[in-house]
Symmetry: C2
Amino acid sequence: DNSVTKKYTIAVIPGDGIGKEVTPWAQKALEKAAEGVAEFSYEQFDLGAERYLRDGAILPEDEEERIKKTDAILLGAVGDPRIKAGILERGLLLKLRFDLDQYVNLRPSKLYKGVTSPLANPGDIDFVVVREGTEGLYCGAGGAVRRGTANEVATEVSINTAYGVERVVRYAFQLAMKRRKHVTLVHKKNVLVNAGDMWQRLVDKVSAEYPEVSHDYSHIDAATIFLVSDPSRFDVILTDNLFGDILTDEAGAVVGGVGYSASGCINASNEYPSMFEPIHGSAPDIAGQNKANPTAAILSAAMLLRHLGFDEAAARIDAAVEADIEELGSTVRSTDQVGRDILARM
Amino acid sequence: DNSVTKKYTIAVIPGDGIGKEVTPWAQKALEKAAEGVAEFSYEQFDLGAERYLRDGAILPEDEEERIKKTDAILLGAVGDPRIKAGILERGLLLKLRFDLDQYVNLRPSKLYKGVTSPLANPGDIDFVVVREGTEGLYCGAGGAVRRGTANEVATEVSINTAYGVERVVRYAFQLAMKRRKHVTLVHKKNVLVNAGDMWQRLVDKVSAEYPEVSHDYSHIDAATIFLVSDPSRFDVILTDNLFGDILTDEAGAVVGGVGYSASGCINASNEYPSMFEPIHGSAPDIAGQNKANPTAAILSAAMLLRHLGFDEAAARIDAAVEADIEELGSTVRSTDQVGRDILARM
Ligand SMILES: CC(C)[C@H](C(=O)O)[C@@H](O)C(=O)O
Ligand SMILES: CC(C)[C@H](C(=O)O)[C@@H](O)C(=O)O
């Protein structure tokens, strides 16, 4: 009976390289997990390198408008060596994050049983990075003068607003309440004194509303050490756009490879759809070879479900992934084999 | 006969916390290594937290003028939890790096025999980070409006000049010629398109003068992965001020702790003295307990000697350190014991 299941439209943007291989598996997992609970229809968007090379379009306005009307977005990966760095990233991926005001970039890191960490003694790794997604050095507010001459000056500007920072700080403390109740602010406030000071003041302010949550601070350089020397110290890491980008890739490596790391670009006020994507890139070197691990993409489908309120359906995906990794994580399998194995467990 | 040994004046700035415990050992190693080769006199500078708390002085002009007249600087560490983040760092450490135009921040990372890396399979790690030292986000070119209100905006500006970038790029290629002839540029040119594009263009330009040196590029996020998954791929890493700060701390962790990592802030044109310091901080948690490892400070004395042209004297320190670590690296020793052990081998 359709009247009891809710209906949602999901925008699917496979993107480039292995994005195209892993995203169908995320969609299949979504579909299967939602059976009897929600009804999804999908709108496929042909965006990324091939489209750009074909007709020069990166994110046409009408397509963005259609994406804005969906309930959530599944994205694969964007980037292609044939295209100058920045064009697709800024024109498509970052444009969506910014235009859809996805101010929380949520990136869990967990060391699964069955995965070999590159660390000799990894300990229990289970933390979430709450990365700000709409400000900082990602604004595109730089410029250059006398380009190509000996007198060239190029700038990049990090813009941080109390409005933008406070909302993501609050999100981190709320998330910590559902976890081990600890927030670590990561910044470089001994050098970036203007932005760092504001981040710290807003953490101090918001923390007063969450007396059960403890919080501390780490410089970004020290945090990269802790991720290697003592990653289990972290519960919720709260940080800005650039530091979050760096820390989550390092974290992905520490938990055995970004092949297991999913992420959500979340508009926590729900004015626009949120977007879910693996944190890995398009990996041109292994693209088209049915080699990429679809696990991170499948885990991002679980994040999508959780975001829409389907906690049980999300938990079914998570449990299937966890069991799959524990049993078969160390075997070499094709993209499709991993996808089939995970779906079979759901 | 004094007339055959060259005379040098070394400014010694022990700074804060463990800086005060390790710097005397760096000075002793310097003294011993230079015996019969060079004659050093030392000027001690009481700069850092205690001085600041005592009389409010951070880097008085006349003292900076005296420092400028020396031949090289030995620095310990700067920073104290009693003082707001940024005051000493920017007023003393970064002020010296900038005023003395120390545009090459040279940071070798080597996994010594006898040191346990936190990585399960570290491989042969031996690379150098060439970090730009006088530009980027470290310029202090940010600001804030409506501070403390809901409408606060705080900015940080990364300033990059062709002049400043090209000279450090050239230094990296020259250094690569003396090593394994490979340079990896690390940046985030898919997001920081203005600065990233300039860095890449200048690398491409300078590389034409060094046809024997191969070069590649890695985004900063990917580089933090490689440092964990495949650190032996790197020979010379060339990067900007902030990325260099982050990568060298992570690299320090990967080679078994920043206790073994020395650094030079080098004015490669020799208009002003260069400065040598361990990359670790003042470590207030273990300060005053005779626990800090003086190895990194001692290795920075070797870098100082090499900078002044005393390669053999530098090699004596390096060899003593290497032998000490190989034999005793895993034993728990006091600061003074490690210092004595290394000196005894020289
Ligand atoms: C592709 C790139 C623009 C992006 C970023 O820097 O945010 C990626 O690295 C990520 O982490 O999602
Ligand atoms: C203390 C701090 C300002 C400094 C830096 O960021 O450069 C330190 O982290 C370093 O790496 O030497």
